[in-house]
Amino acid sequence: MENIPQIPRQMEPKVEVEGSKSSLWGQVWRRFIKRKMAVVGFLFLTMIFVFSFIGPFFSPYTTMGTNPINAHQPPSSAHWLGTDHLGRDVLTRLMLAGRISLTVGLGAMVLSVSIGGILGILAGYYRGIVDQIVMRIADVLMTLPGLPLLFIMAAIMSEWRVPAEHRMYIVMIMLSLIGWPGLARLIRSQVLSLREREFMLATDALGLRDRRKLLNHLLPNVVPILIVTATLSVGGAILSESVLSYFGLGVVPPTASWGNMINAANSLIDFTNRPWLWIPPGVAIFVTVICINLLGDGLRDAIDPNMKGR
Protein backbone atom coordinates (compact mmCIF):
# COMPACT_ATOMS: atom_id res chain seq x y z
CA MET A 1 0.00 0.00 0.00
CA GLU A 2 2.62 2.50 1.09
CA ASN A 3 4.76 1.91 -1.94
CA ILE A 4 2.19 2.96 -4.43
CA PRO A 5 2.94 6.52 -5.50
CA GLN A 6 0.23 8.84 -4.30
CA ILE A 7 -1.57 10.93 -6.83
CA PRO A 8 -1.19 14.60 -5.90
CA ARG A 9 -4.23 15.62 -3.97
CA GLN A 10 -5.12 18.67 -6.07
CA MET A 11 -5.23 16.81 -9.36
CA GLU A 12 -7.54 14.07 -8.30
CA PRO A 13 -10.89 15.82 -7.89
CA LYS A 14 -10.28 18.03 -10.87
CA VAL A 15 -9.80 15.12 -13.22
CA GLU A 16 -12.83 13.44 -11.87
CA VAL A 17 -15.16 16.41 -12.23
CA GLU A 18 -14.09 17.02 -15.80
CA GLY A 19 -14.26 13.35 -16.57
CA SER A 20 -17.74 12.91 -15.22
CA LYS A 21 -19.01 15.95 -17.12
CA SER A 22 -17.67 14.94 -20.48
CA SER A 23 -18.60 11.34 -19.90
CA LEU A 24 -22.33 11.83 -19.51
CA TRP A 25 -23.87 15.07 -20.75
CA GLY A 26 -20.89 15.91 -22.90
CA GLN A 27 -21.23 12.61 -24.69
CA VAL A 28 -24.95 13.05 -24.97
CA TRP A 29 -24.40 16.43 -26.56
CA ARG A 30 -21.83 15.08 -29.01
CA ARG A 31 -24.13 12.22 -30.00
CA PHE A 32 -27.06 14.60 -30.32
CA ILE A 33 -25.41 17.07 -32.73
CA LYS A 34 -24.49 14.15 -34.95
CA ARG A 35 -28.15 13.42 -35.57
CA LYS A 36 -28.99 15.85 -38.35
CA MET A 37 -32.76 15.34 -38.27
CA ALA A 38 -32.89 16.03 -34.55
CA VAL A 39 -30.84 19.20 -34.88
CA VAL A 40 -33.04 20.38 -37.75
CA GLY A 41 -36.09 19.68 -35.60
CA PHE A 42 -34.58 21.63 -32.74
CA LEU A 43 -33.75 24.63 -34.96
CA PHE A 44 -37.23 24.68 -36.50
CA LEU A 45 -38.76 24.43 -33.06
CA THR A 46 -36.72 27.42 -31.91
CA MET A 47 -38.01 29.32 -34.93
CA ILE A 48 -41.60 28.41 -34.09
CA PHE A 49 -41.09 29.67 -30.54
CA VAL A 50 -39.59 32.94 -31.82
CA PHE A 51 -42.42 33.25 -34.35
CA SER A 52 -45.08 32.80 -31.66
CA PHE A 53 -43.61 34.67 -28.72
CA ILE A 54 -41.66 37.49 -30.40
CA GLY A 55 -43.44 37.65 -33.77
CA PRO A 56 -46.54 39.52 -32.58
CA PHE A 57 -44.40 42.49 -31.51
CA PHE A 58 -43.40 43.03 -35.13
CA SER A 59 -46.91 42.70 -36.49
CA PRO A 60 -48.57 46.00 -37.52
CA TYR A 61 -51.96 44.56 -36.54
CA THR A 62 -53.65 43.85 -33.25
CA THR A 63 -56.31 41.22 -32.88
CA MET A 64 -58.25 43.33 -30.42
CA GLY A 65 -61.42 44.92 -31.75
CA THR A 66 -63.02 44.23 -35.08
CA ASN A 67 -62.88 45.73 -38.50
CA PRO A 68 -65.88 44.43 -40.47
CA ILE A 69 -65.01 46.34 -43.66
CA ASN A 70 -61.80 44.39 -43.80
CA ALA A 71 -63.40 40.99 -43.17
CA HIS A 72 -62.65 37.86 -45.25
CA GLN A 73 -59.78 39.31 -47.23
CA PRO A 74 -57.81 36.66 -49.11
CA PRO A 75 -54.04 36.64 -48.55
CA SER A 76 -52.38 39.77 -49.92
CA SER A 77 -49.21 41.78 -49.37
CA ALA A 78 -50.90 43.66 -46.52
CA HIS A 79 -52.34 40.54 -44.87
CA TRP A 80 -50.07 37.63 -45.73
CA LEU A 81 -52.59 35.07 -44.59
CA GLY A 82 -55.71 37.14 -45.18
CA THR A 83 -58.25 38.18 -42.56
CA ASP A 84 -61.04 36.38 -40.72
CA HIS A 85 -64.76 37.13 -40.33
CA LEU A 86 -64.02 40.01 -37.92
CA GLY A 87 -61.33 41.53 -40.10
CA ARG A 88 -58.50 40.35 -37.87
CA ASP A 89 -55.15 39.53 -39.44
CA VAL A 90 -54.83 35.73 -39.57
CA LEU A 91 -51.03 35.72 -39.41
CA THR A 92 -51.02 37.73 -36.17
CA ARG A 93 -53.68 35.45 -34.70
CA LEU A 94 -51.64 32.44 -35.76
CA MET A 95 -48.67 33.75 -33.78
CA LEU A 96 -50.77 34.51 -30.72
CA ALA A 97 -52.45 31.10 -31.00
CA GLY A 98 -48.98 29.57 -31.08
CA ARG A 99 -48.23 31.14 -27.71
CA ILE A 100 -51.30 29.47 -26.24
CA SER A 101 -50.83 26.08 -27.89
CA LEU A 102 -47.13 25.88 -27.04
CA THR A 103 -47.74 27.03 -23.47
CA VAL A 104 -50.50 24.47 -23.02
CA GLY A 105 -48.25 21.75 -24.43
CA LEU A 106 -45.34 22.68 -22.15
CA GLY A 107 -47.54 23.26 -19.10
CA ALA A 108 -49.35 19.95 -19.49
CA MET A 109 -45.99 18.24 -19.87
CA VAL A 110 -44.55 19.84 -16.72
CA LEU A 111 -47.64 18.90 -14.72
CA SER A 112 -47.90 15.32 -15.90
CA VAL A 113 -44.16 14.76 -15.55
CA SER A 114 -44.28 16.11 -12.00
CA ILE A 115 -47.26 13.99 -10.98
CA GLY A 116 -46.16 10.89 -12.87
CA GLY A 117 -42.51 11.26 -11.90
CA ILE A 118 -43.13 11.75 -8.18
CA LEU A 119 -45.73 9.00 -7.92
CA GLY A 120 -43.66 6.65 -10.06
CA ILE A 121 -40.54 7.15 -7.93
CA LEU A 122 -42.48 6.76 -4.67
CA ALA A 123 -44.29 3.65 -5.89
CA GLY A 124 -41.15 2.04 -7.21
CA TYR A 125 -39.04 2.87 -4.18
CA TYR A 126 -41.42 2.13 -1.31
CA ARG A 127 -43.34 -0.65 -3.07
CA GLY A 128 -45.94 -2.29 -0.83
CA ILE A 129 -49.09 -0.33 -0.11
CA VAL A 130 -47.94 2.92 -1.79
CA ASP A 131 -47.20 1.02 -4.97
CA GLN A 132 -50.52 -0.82 -4.81
CA ILE A 133 -52.55 2.36 -4.42
CA VAL A 134 -50.74 4.38 -7.08
CA MET A 135 -50.65 1.62 -9.64
CA ARG A 136 -54.26 0.54 -9.17
CA ILE A 137 -55.38 4.14 -9.74
CA ALA A 138 -53.14 4.31 -12.80
CA ASP A 139 -54.59 1.00 -14.04
CA VAL A 140 -58.15 2.25 -13.71
CA LEU A 141 -57.35 5.53 -15.46
CA MET A 142 -55.63 3.69 -18.29
CA THR A 143 -58.62 1.41 -18.72
CA LEU A 144 -60.90 4.30 -19.55
CA PRO A 145 -60.88 5.66 -23.09
CA GLY A 146 -58.98 8.96 -23.24
CA LEU A 147 -61.21 11.13 -25.36
CA PRO A 148 -64.46 10.51 -23.44
CA LEU A 149 -62.54 11.18 -20.23
CA LEU A 150 -61.37 14.51 -21.62
CA PHE A 151 -64.92 15.37 -22.71
CA ILE A 152 -66.25 14.61 -19.23
CA MET A 153 -63.62 16.73 -17.54
CA ALA A 154 -64.18 19.55 -20.00
CA ALA A 155 -67.91 19.49 -19.27
CA ILE A 156 -67.36 19.43 -15.51
CA MET A 157 -64.81 22.21 -15.60
CA SER A 158 -66.83 24.40 -17.94
CA GLU A 159 -69.33 24.62 -15.09
CA TRP A 160 -66.72 26.49 -13.06
CA ARG A 161 -67.20 29.53 -15.32
CA VAL A 162 -63.51 30.07 -15.85
CA PRO A 163 -62.86 33.25 -17.88
CA ALA A 164 -61.89 32.55 -21.49
CA GLU A 165 -58.32 33.75 -21.06
CA HIS A 166 -57.73 31.29 -18.21
CA ARG A 167 -59.22 28.29 -19.98
CA MET A 168 -55.74 27.21 -21.07
CA TYR A 169 -54.83 26.36 -17.47
CA ILE A 170 -57.87 24.12 -17.21
CA VAL A 171 -56.81 22.38 -20.41
CA MET A 172 -53.32 21.84 -18.98
CA ILE A 173 -54.75 20.24 -15.85
CA MET A 174 -57.06 18.01 -17.89
CA LEU A 175 -54.28 16.80 -20.15
CA SER A 176 -51.96 16.09 -17.23
CA LEU A 177 -54.65 14.08 -15.45
CA ILE A 178 -54.83 11.87 -18.54
CA GLY A 179 -51.08 11.83 -19.09
CA TRP A 180 -49.59 10.93 -15.72
CA PRO A 181 -50.48 7.20 -15.42
CA GLY A 182 -48.36 6.14 -18.37
CA LEU A 183 -45.43 8.16 -17.09
CA ALA A 184 -45.77 6.85 -13.55
CA ARG A 185 -45.72 3.29 -14.86
CA LEU A 186 -42.59 3.89 -16.89
CA ILE A 187 -40.70 5.61 -14.05
CA ARG A 188 -41.80 2.97 -11.55
CA SER A 189 -40.40 0.15 -13.63
CA GLN A 190 -37.12 2.06 -13.97
CA VAL A 191 -36.94 2.67 -10.23
CA LEU A 192 -37.76 -0.95 -9.44
CA SER A 193 -34.65 -2.08 -11.27
CA LEU A 194 -32.49 0.83 -10.09
CA ARG A 195 -33.19 0.28 -6.43
CA GLU A 196 -31.61 -3.18 -6.59
CA ARG A 197 -28.36 -1.82 -7.98
CA GLU A 198 -25.13 -1.54 -6.00
CA PHE A 199 -25.10 2.23 -5.71
CA MET A 200 -28.45 2.14 -3.94
CA LEU A 201 -27.11 -0.58 -1.66
CA ALA A 202 -24.25 1.80 -0.89
CA THR A 203 -26.69 4.53 0.14
CA ASP A 204 -28.29 1.99 2.48
CA ALA A 205 -24.92 1.14 3.94
CA LEU A 206 -24.13 4.81 4.41
CA GLY A 207 -27.38 5.18 6.28
CA LEU A 208 -28.62 8.08 4.20
CA ARG A 209 -32.06 9.43 4.82
CA ASP A 210 -34.80 8.57 2.31
CA ARG A 211 -35.03 12.13 1.08
CA ARG A 212 -31.38 12.18 0.09
CA LYS A 213 -31.53 8.70 -1.39
CA LEU A 214 -34.47 9.63 -3.57
CA LEU A 215 -33.44 13.13 -4.60
CA ASN A 216 -29.66 12.81 -4.88
CA HIS A 217 -29.24 9.25 -6.01
CA LEU A 218 -32.39 7.84 -7.54
CA LEU A 219 -33.73 10.91 -9.32
CA PRO A 220 -30.57 11.72 -11.35
CA ASN A 221 -30.71 8.21 -12.77
CA VAL A 222 -34.29 8.60 -13.88
CA VAL A 223 -33.74 12.04 -15.40
CA PRO A 224 -32.52 10.87 -18.83
CA ILE A 225 -35.61 8.76 -19.54
CA LEU A 226 -37.75 11.51 -18.03
CA ILE A 227 -36.31 14.09 -20.42
CA VAL A 228 -37.04 11.96 -23.46
CA THR A 229 -40.58 11.07 -22.43
CA ALA A 230 -41.28 14.64 -21.42
CA THR A 231 -40.15 15.97 -24.78
CA LEU A 232 -42.28 13.52 -26.70
CA SER A 233 -45.29 14.17 -24.47
CA VAL A 234 -45.30 17.87 -25.41
CA GLY A 235 -46.22 16.88 -28.94
CA GLY A 236 -49.03 14.66 -27.71
CA ALA A 237 -50.34 17.41 -25.48
CA ILE A 238 -50.38 19.91 -28.35
CA LEU A 239 -52.33 17.42 -30.48
CA SER A 240 -54.85 16.74 -27.69
CA GLU A 241 -55.29 20.44 -27.02
CA SER A 242 -56.03 21.02 -30.68
CA VAL A 243 -58.69 18.30 -30.71
CA LEU A 244 -60.38 19.68 -27.60
CA SER A 245 -60.26 23.27 -28.82
CA TYR A 246 -61.53 22.24 -32.24
CA PHE A 247 -64.60 20.72 -30.59
CA GLY A 248 -65.02 23.86 -28.47
CA LEU A 249 -64.08 22.09 -25.23
CA GLY A 250 -60.59 23.44 -24.77
CA VAL A 251 -59.36 26.98 -25.27
CA VAL A 252 -62.32 29.06 -26.43
CA PRO A 253 -62.50 32.25 -28.52
CA PRO A 254 -61.67 35.14 -28.37
CA THR A 255 -58.43 33.54 -27.12
CA ALA A 256 -56.95 31.91 -30.19
CA SER A 257 -55.32 28.50 -30.17
CA TRP A 258 -54.30 26.52 -33.23
CA GLY A 259 -57.11 24.08 -32.56
CA ASN A 260 -59.93 26.56 -32.27
CA MET A 261 -58.72 28.47 -35.34
CA ILE A 262 -59.32 25.29 -37.38
CA ASN A 263 -62.88 25.49 -36.08
CA ALA A 264 -63.49 27.96 -38.94
CA ALA A 265 -63.69 24.87 -41.17
CA ASN A 266 -67.03 24.06 -39.57
CA SER A 267 -68.68 26.71 -41.70
CA LEU A 268 -69.17 25.40 -45.21
CA ILE A 269 -68.23 28.62 -47.02
CA ASP A 270 -65.06 29.10 -45.00
CA PHE A 271 -64.24 25.44 -45.49
CA THR A 272 -64.51 25.40 -49.27
CA ASN A 273 -63.68 28.99 -50.24
CA ARG A 274 -61.45 30.40 -47.52
CA PRO A 275 -58.78 27.80 -46.80
CA TRP A 276 -56.42 30.50 -45.46
CA LEU A 277 -58.49 30.54 -42.29
CA TRP A 278 -57.98 26.91 -41.28
CA ILE A 279 -55.08 25.42 -43.22
CA PRO A 280 -52.27 27.55 -41.66
CA PRO A 281 -53.05 26.58 -38.03
CA GLY A 282 -53.25 22.91 -39.05
CA VAL A 283 -49.89 23.14 -40.76
CA ALA A 284 -48.49 24.92 -37.68
CA ILE A 285 -49.56 22.03 -35.43
CA PHE A 286 -48.18 19.52 -37.90
CA VAL A 287 -44.76 21.19 -38.20
CA THR A 288 -44.47 21.78 -34.45
CA VAL A 289 -45.30 18.20 -33.52
CA ILE A 290 -42.96 16.78 -36.18
CA CYS A 291 -40.11 18.92 -34.81
CA ILE A 292 -40.85 17.91 -31.23
CA ASN A 293 -40.88 14.22 -32.19
CA LEU A 294 -37.63 14.54 -34.14
CA LEU A 295 -36.04 16.30 -31.19
CA GLY A 296 -37.29 13.73 -28.70
CA ASP A 297 -36.17 10.89 -30.91
CA GLY A 298 -32.70 12.38 -31.30
CA LEU A 299 -32.46 12.94 -27.56
CA ARG A 300 -33.40 9.33 -26.90
CA ASP A 301 -30.73 8.02 -29.23
CA ALA A 302 -28.21 10.45 -27.74
CA ILE A 303 -29.03 9.69 -24.13
CA ASP A 304 -29.35 5.95 -24.41
CA PRO A 305 -28.22 4.45 -27.69
CA ASN A 306 -29.48 1.06 -26.58
CA MET A 307 -33.16 1.87 -26.49
CA LYS A 308 -33.26 3.10 -30.07
CA GLY A 309 -36.73 3.73 -31.40
CA ARG A 310 -38.58 2.21 -28.51
Binding site: L239, G282, F286, I290
Partner: protein, 318 residues
Amino acid sequence: MGRYILKRLAYLIPTLIGASILIFFLYSLVPGNFIDGDPNLTAERKAELYALYGFDQPTIVRYFIWMGNLLTGDLGFSLQFQRPVTEVLNNYIWSSFIVAFASLFLTWAIAVVVGVISATKQYSLYDAVITILVFAAMATPSFFLGLIVIKYFAVDLGWFPAGGMTTTGADYTGWEHVKDVLEHMILPVLVLTMLGIGGLTRYFRTNMLEVVKQDFVRTARAKGLKERVVIYKHALRNALLPAITLFSFELPALFSGAIITEQIFNWPGIGAIYMQAFTVRDYTLLMGFTMFIAVLTVISNLIADILYGLADPRVRVK
Protein backbone atom coordinates in the same frame (compact mmCIF):
# COMPACT_ATOMS: atom_id res chain seq x y z
CA MET B 1 -50.00 -21.18 -17.17
CA GLY B 2 -53.44 -21.94 -15.75
CA ARG B 3 -52.54 -20.40 -12.40
CA TYR B 4 -51.07 -17.40 -14.16
CA ILE B 5 -54.32 -16.78 -16.05
CA LEU B 6 -56.37 -17.19 -12.88
CA LYS B 7 -54.17 -14.70 -11.07
CA ARG B 8 -54.54 -12.21 -13.89
CA LEU B 9 -58.30 -12.72 -13.96
CA ALA B 10 -58.46 -12.00 -10.24
CA TYR B 11 -56.59 -8.76 -10.88
CA LEU B 12 -59.25 -7.67 -13.37
CA ILE B 13 -62.05 -7.50 -10.85
CA PRO B 14 -60.80 -4.59 -8.71
CA THR B 15 -59.75 -2.72 -11.83
CA LEU B 16 -63.20 -3.06 -13.35
CA ILE B 17 -64.91 -2.08 -10.10
CA GLY B 18 -62.63 0.95 -9.89
CA ALA B 19 -63.43 1.83 -13.50
CA SER B 20 -67.19 1.52 -12.92
CA ILE B 21 -67.00 3.79 -9.85
CA LEU B 22 -64.94 6.37 -11.69
CA ILE B 23 -67.19 6.28 -14.76
CA PHE B 24 -70.38 6.61 -12.76
CA PHE B 25 -69.26 9.39 -10.45
CA LEU B 26 -67.51 11.38 -13.16
CA TYR B 27 -70.63 11.34 -15.31
CA SER B 28 -72.75 12.26 -12.32
CA LEU B 29 -70.58 15.38 -11.88
CA VAL B 30 -71.23 16.50 -15.44
CA PRO B 31 -73.67 19.41 -15.40
CA GLY B 32 -77.00 19.10 -17.22
CA ASN B 33 -79.48 16.32 -17.75
CA PHE B 34 -81.40 14.98 -20.71
CA ILE B 35 -84.71 15.90 -19.09
CA ASP B 36 -83.60 19.49 -18.40
CA GLY B 37 -82.82 19.81 -22.10
CA ASP B 38 -86.51 20.07 -22.98
CA PRO B 39 -87.70 23.64 -22.29
CA ASN B 40 -91.39 22.75 -22.74
CA LEU B 41 -91.64 20.59 -19.65
CA THR B 42 -93.49 21.89 -16.62
CA ALA B 43 -91.91 21.55 -13.18
CA GLU B 44 -94.32 18.74 -12.17
CA ARG B 45 -93.73 16.78 -15.35
CA LYS B 46 -89.99 17.16 -14.82
CA ALA B 47 -90.23 15.84 -11.27
CA GLU B 48 -92.32 12.96 -12.57
CA LEU B 49 -89.72 12.09 -15.20
CA TYR B 50 -86.91 12.42 -12.66
CA ALA B 51 -88.71 9.91 -10.46
CA LEU B 52 -89.43 7.64 -13.43
CA TYR B 53 -85.79 7.42 -14.48
CA GLY B 54 -84.50 7.37 -10.90
CA PHE B 55 -82.69 10.71 -11.03
CA ASP B 56 -84.27 11.73 -7.72
CA GLN B 57 -82.27 9.10 -5.82
CA PRO B 58 -78.93 9.92 -4.19
CA THR B 59 -75.90 9.24 -6.39
CA ILE B 60 -74.67 6.34 -4.25
CA VAL B 61 -78.00 4.53 -4.50
CA ARG B 62 -78.09 5.13 -8.24
CA TYR B 63 -74.60 3.69 -8.57
CA PHE B 64 -75.62 0.44 -6.91
CA ILE B 65 -78.76 0.17 -9.02
CA TRP B 66 -76.69 0.77 -12.16
CA MET B 67 -74.01 -1.67 -11.04
CA GLY B 68 -76.60 -4.33 -10.17
CA ASN B 69 -78.16 -4.06 -13.59
CA LEU B 70 -74.73 -4.10 -15.17
CA LEU B 71 -73.98 -7.46 -13.60
CA THR B 72 -77.06 -8.94 -15.24
CA GLY B 73 -75.95 -7.51 -18.59
CA ASP B 74 -78.47 -4.67 -18.55
CA LEU B 75 -76.86 -1.37 -19.50
CA GLY B 76 -80.03 0.64 -18.90
CA PHE B 77 -82.38 2.58 -21.11
CA SER B 78 -81.27 5.29 -23.52
CA LEU B 79 -83.44 8.39 -23.06
CA GLN B 80 -82.51 9.84 -26.40
CA PHE B 81 -83.31 6.74 -28.44
CA GLN B 82 -86.01 5.38 -26.11
CA ARG B 83 -84.46 1.95 -26.43
CA PRO B 84 -82.21 -0.26 -24.31
CA VAL B 85 -78.59 0.86 -24.48
CA THR B 86 -77.42 -2.60 -25.55
CA GLU B 87 -79.72 -2.36 -28.56
CA VAL B 88 -78.42 1.11 -29.49
CA LEU B 89 -74.83 -0.06 -29.16
CA ASN B 90 -75.59 -3.09 -31.28
CA ASN B 91 -77.18 -0.88 -33.94
CA TYR B 92 -74.24 1.44 -34.37
CA ILE B 93 -71.19 -0.60 -33.46
CA TRP B 94 -71.19 -2.54 -36.69
CA SER B 95 -70.88 0.48 -38.93
CA SER B 96 -67.91 1.51 -36.79
CA PHE B 97 -66.59 -2.01 -36.98
CA ILE B 98 -66.44 -2.22 -40.77
CA VAL B 99 -64.45 1.00 -41.01
CA ALA B 100 -62.17 0.04 -38.13
CA PHE B 101 -61.65 -3.46 -39.52
CA ALA B 102 -60.79 -2.23 -43.01
CA SER B 103 -58.33 0.33 -41.70
CA LEU B 104 -56.80 -2.10 -39.20
CA PHE B 105 -56.23 -4.62 -41.95
CA LEU B 106 -54.68 -2.05 -44.28
CA THR B 107 -52.57 -0.52 -41.52
CA TRP B 108 -51.05 -3.82 -40.48
CA ALA B 109 -50.53 -5.11 -44.00
CA ILE B 110 -48.81 -1.93 -45.15
CA ALA B 111 -46.86 -1.40 -41.94
CA VAL B 112 -45.35 -4.90 -41.92
CA VAL B 113 -44.22 -4.69 -45.53
CA VAL B 114 -42.96 -1.11 -45.38
CA GLY B 115 -41.32 -1.49 -41.96
CA VAL B 116 -39.50 -4.69 -42.83
CA ILE B 117 -38.22 -3.43 -46.18
CA SER B 118 -37.19 -0.20 -44.49
CA ALA B 119 -35.19 -2.17 -41.92
CA THR B 120 -33.43 -4.35 -44.46
CA LYS B 121 -32.37 -1.24 -46.34
CA GLN B 122 -31.37 0.78 -43.28
CA TYR B 123 -29.87 4.21 -44.10
CA SER B 124 -30.93 4.00 -47.76
CA LEU B 125 -32.92 6.72 -49.49
CA TYR B 126 -36.04 4.55 -49.22
CA ASP B 127 -35.52 4.22 -45.48
CA ALA B 128 -35.05 7.98 -45.11
CA VAL B 129 -38.24 8.75 -47.06
CA ILE B 130 -40.21 6.22 -45.02
CA THR B 131 -38.86 7.65 -41.77
CA ILE B 132 -39.98 11.14 -42.77
CA LEU B 133 -43.44 9.85 -43.76
CA VAL B 134 -43.70 8.00 -40.45
CA PHE B 135 -42.95 11.16 -38.52
CA ALA B 136 -45.45 13.05 -40.65
CA ALA B 137 -48.16 10.49 -39.94
CA MET B 138 -47.54 10.69 -36.21
CA ALA B 139 -47.72 14.49 -36.16
CA THR B 140 -51.00 15.04 -38.00
CA PRO B 141 -54.04 15.99 -35.95
CA SER B 142 -56.76 13.53 -36.95
CA PHE B 143 -59.48 16.11 -37.49
CA PHE B 144 -57.20 18.27 -39.63
CA LEU B 145 -56.24 15.34 -41.83
CA GLY B 146 -59.94 14.53 -42.20
CA LEU B 147 -60.73 18.09 -43.23
CA ILE B 148 -57.86 18.24 -45.74
CA VAL B 149 -58.89 14.92 -47.27
CA ILE B 150 -62.50 16.07 -47.62
CA LYS B 151 -61.39 19.38 -49.08
CA TYR B 152 -59.23 17.84 -51.80
CA PHE B 153 -60.77 14.48 -52.61
CA ALA B 154 -64.42 15.31 -52.05
CA VAL B 155 -64.84 19.04 -52.67
CA ASP B 156 -62.10 20.02 -55.13
CA LEU B 157 -61.71 16.80 -57.08
CA GLY B 158 -65.15 15.38 -56.37
CA TRP B 159 -63.91 11.79 -56.49
CA PHE B 160 -65.57 10.56 -53.32
CA PRO B 161 -68.59 11.56 -51.23
CA ALA B 162 -67.73 13.96 -48.42
CA GLY B 163 -69.61 12.27 -45.63
CA GLY B 164 -72.38 9.96 -44.47
CA MET B 165 -72.72 6.28 -45.07
CA THR B 166 -75.12 6.21 -47.99
CA THR B 167 -76.16 8.64 -50.69
CA THR B 168 -79.02 10.76 -49.39
CA GLY B 169 -82.29 10.09 -51.16
CA ALA B 170 -80.98 7.10 -53.06
CA ASP B 171 -82.69 3.86 -52.10
CA TYR B 172 -80.22 1.27 -53.22
CA THR B 173 -80.66 -2.35 -52.39
CA GLY B 174 -78.45 -5.39 -52.66
CA TRP B 175 -75.20 -4.99 -54.53
CA GLU B 176 -75.82 -1.30 -55.31
CA HIS B 177 -76.14 -0.58 -51.60
CA VAL B 178 -72.88 -2.36 -50.80
CA LYS B 179 -71.12 -0.38 -53.52
CA ASP B 180 -72.56 2.86 -52.17
CA VAL B 181 -71.40 2.15 -48.62
CA LEU B 182 -67.94 1.13 -49.86
CA GLU B 183 -67.63 4.40 -51.73
CA HIS B 184 -68.49 6.34 -48.60
CA MET B 185 -66.05 4.25 -46.59
CA ILE B 186 -62.99 5.06 -48.63
CA LEU B 187 -62.12 8.45 -47.14
CA PRO B 188 -62.63 7.58 -43.45
CA VAL B 189 -60.64 4.37 -43.91
CA LEU B 190 -57.92 6.32 -45.69
CA VAL B 191 -57.67 8.80 -42.81
CA LEU B 192 -57.63 6.14 -40.10
CA THR B 193 -55.03 4.13 -41.99
CA MET B 194 -52.80 7.17 -42.47
CA LEU B 195 -53.05 8.01 -38.78
CA GLY B 196 -52.31 4.52 -37.55
CA ILE B 197 -49.59 3.54 -39.94
CA GLY B 198 -46.80 5.73 -38.56
CA GLY B 199 -46.27 4.18 -35.16
CA LEU B 200 -46.73 0.65 -36.42
CA THR B 201 -44.27 0.95 -39.30
CA ARG B 202 -41.72 2.32 -36.88
CA TYR B 203 -42.39 -0.54 -34.51
CA PHE B 204 -41.79 -3.20 -37.17
CA ARG B 205 -38.70 -1.43 -38.43
CA THR B 206 -37.15 -1.31 -34.94
CA ASN B 207 -38.11 -4.90 -34.19
CA MET B 208 -36.63 -6.13 -37.44
CA LEU B 209 -33.41 -4.17 -36.91
CA GLU B 210 -33.05 -5.72 -33.50
CA VAL B 211 -33.70 -9.27 -34.67
CA VAL B 212 -31.31 -9.02 -37.60
CA LYS B 213 -28.49 -8.27 -35.14
CA GLN B 214 -29.04 -11.51 -33.22
CA ASP B 215 -26.85 -14.58 -33.30
CA PHE B 216 -29.31 -16.97 -34.92
CA VAL B 217 -29.50 -14.71 -37.97
CA ARG B 218 -25.73 -14.77 -38.24
CA THR B 219 -25.88 -18.54 -37.95
CA ALA B 220 -28.43 -18.71 -40.73
CA ARG B 221 -26.22 -16.58 -42.93
CA ALA B 222 -23.18 -18.64 -42.03
CA LYS B 223 -25.04 -21.78 -43.08
CA GLY B 224 -25.07 -20.22 -46.53
CA LEU B 225 -28.79 -19.58 -46.74
CA LYS B 226 -29.97 -17.06 -49.27
CA GLU B 227 -30.43 -13.56 -47.85
CA ARG B 228 -34.10 -13.70 -48.83
CA VAL B 229 -34.64 -16.84 -46.78
CA VAL B 230 -32.71 -15.42 -43.84
CA ILE B 231 -34.76 -12.25 -43.76
CA TYR B 232 -38.24 -13.48 -44.61
CA LYS B 233 -38.16 -16.87 -42.97
CA HIS B 234 -35.87 -16.68 -39.98
CA ALA B 235 -35.80 -13.02 -39.02
CA LEU B 236 -39.33 -11.94 -39.94
CA ARG B 237 -41.00 -14.59 -37.81
CA ASN B 238 -39.16 -13.43 -34.74
CA ALA B 239 -39.78 -9.80 -35.52
CA LEU B 240 -43.52 -10.42 -35.83
CA LEU B 241 -43.79 -12.31 -32.57
CA PRO B 242 -43.86 -9.36 -30.15
CA ALA B 243 -46.45 -7.73 -32.40
CA ILE B 244 -49.17 -10.10 -31.23
CA THR B 245 -49.36 -8.16 -27.98
CA LEU B 246 -49.72 -4.96 -29.93
CA PHE B 247 -52.42 -6.57 -32.02
CA SER B 248 -54.41 -7.47 -28.92
CA PHE B 249 -54.23 -3.86 -27.77
CA GLU B 250 -55.92 -2.87 -31.01
CA LEU B 251 -58.97 -5.02 -30.33
CA PRO B 252 -60.97 -2.40 -28.41
CA ALA B 253 -60.42 0.04 -31.28
CA LEU B 254 -62.40 -2.30 -33.54
CA PHE B 255 -65.55 -1.68 -31.53
CA SER B 256 -64.97 1.67 -29.88
CA GLY B 257 -65.46 3.71 -33.00
CA ALA B 258 -63.31 6.65 -33.96
CA ILE B 259 -65.01 9.59 -32.30
CA ILE B 260 -63.17 12.31 -34.20
CA THR B 261 -63.06 10.70 -37.63
CA GLU B 262 -66.70 9.63 -37.49
CA GLN B 263 -67.68 13.12 -36.44
CA ILE B 264 -65.74 14.73 -39.31
CA PHE B 265 -67.11 12.33 -41.93
CA ASN B 266 -70.58 12.21 -40.45
CA TRP B 267 -70.28 8.44 -40.35
CA PRO B 268 -73.14 6.90 -38.33
CA GLY B 269 -70.91 4.87 -36.05
CA ILE B 270 -70.78 4.52 -32.30
CA GLY B 271 -68.22 7.31 -31.96
CA ALA B 272 -70.48 9.86 -33.61
CA ILE B 273 -73.40 8.59 -31.53
CA TYR B 274 -71.30 9.06 -28.40
CA MET B 275 -70.68 12.71 -29.31
CA GLN B 276 -74.38 13.21 -29.99
CA ALA B 277 -75.34 11.53 -26.71
CA PHE B 278 -72.85 13.75 -24.93
CA THR B 279 -74.44 16.95 -26.19
CA VAL B 280 -77.90 15.84 -25.03
CA ARG B 281 -76.53 14.24 -21.84
CA ASP B 282 -77.95 10.78 -22.41
CA TYR B 283 -76.08 9.39 -19.41
CA THR B 284 -77.11 5.76 -19.58
CA LEU B 285 -75.83 5.52 -23.13
CA LEU B 286 -72.63 7.39 -22.27
CA MET B 287 -71.92 5.28 -19.19
CA GLY B 288 -72.82 2.05 -20.93
CA PHE B 289 -70.53 2.80 -23.84
CA THR B 290 -67.61 3.88 -21.64
CA MET B 291 -67.96 0.81 -19.45
CA PHE B 292 -68.13 -1.40 -22.53
CA ILE B 293 -64.82 0.04 -23.76
CA ALA B 294 -63.26 -0.35 -20.31
CA VAL B 295 -64.20 -4.04 -20.24
CA LEU B 296 -62.85 -4.54 -23.75
CA THR B 297 -59.59 -2.81 -22.83
CA VAL B 298 -59.11 -4.98 -19.76
CA ILE B 299 -59.86 -8.15 -21.70
CA SER B 300 -57.52 -7.23 -24.52
CA ASN B 301 -54.74 -6.51 -22.03
CA LEU B 302 -55.27 -9.96 -20.59
CA ILE B 303 -55.25 -11.57 -24.02
CA ALA B 304 -52.04 -9.70 -24.82
CA ASP B 305 -50.36 -11.02 -21.68
CA ILE B 306 -51.50 -14.57 -22.25
CA LEU B 307 -50.49 -14.60 -25.91
CA TYR B 308 -47.14 -13.14 -25.06
CA GLY B 309 -46.64 -15.74 -22.36
CA LEU B 310 -47.43 -18.46 -24.89
CA ALA B 311 -45.18 -17.02 -27.55
CA ASP B 312 -42.24 -16.23 -25.30
CA PRO B 313 -42.06 -18.56 -22.28
CA ARG B 314 -39.28 -16.44 -20.74
CA VAL B 315 -41.87 -13.83 -19.76
CA ARG B 316 -43.91 -16.28 -17.72
CA VAL B 317 -41.12 -17.11 -15.31
CA LYS B 318 -41.67 -13.82 -13.48
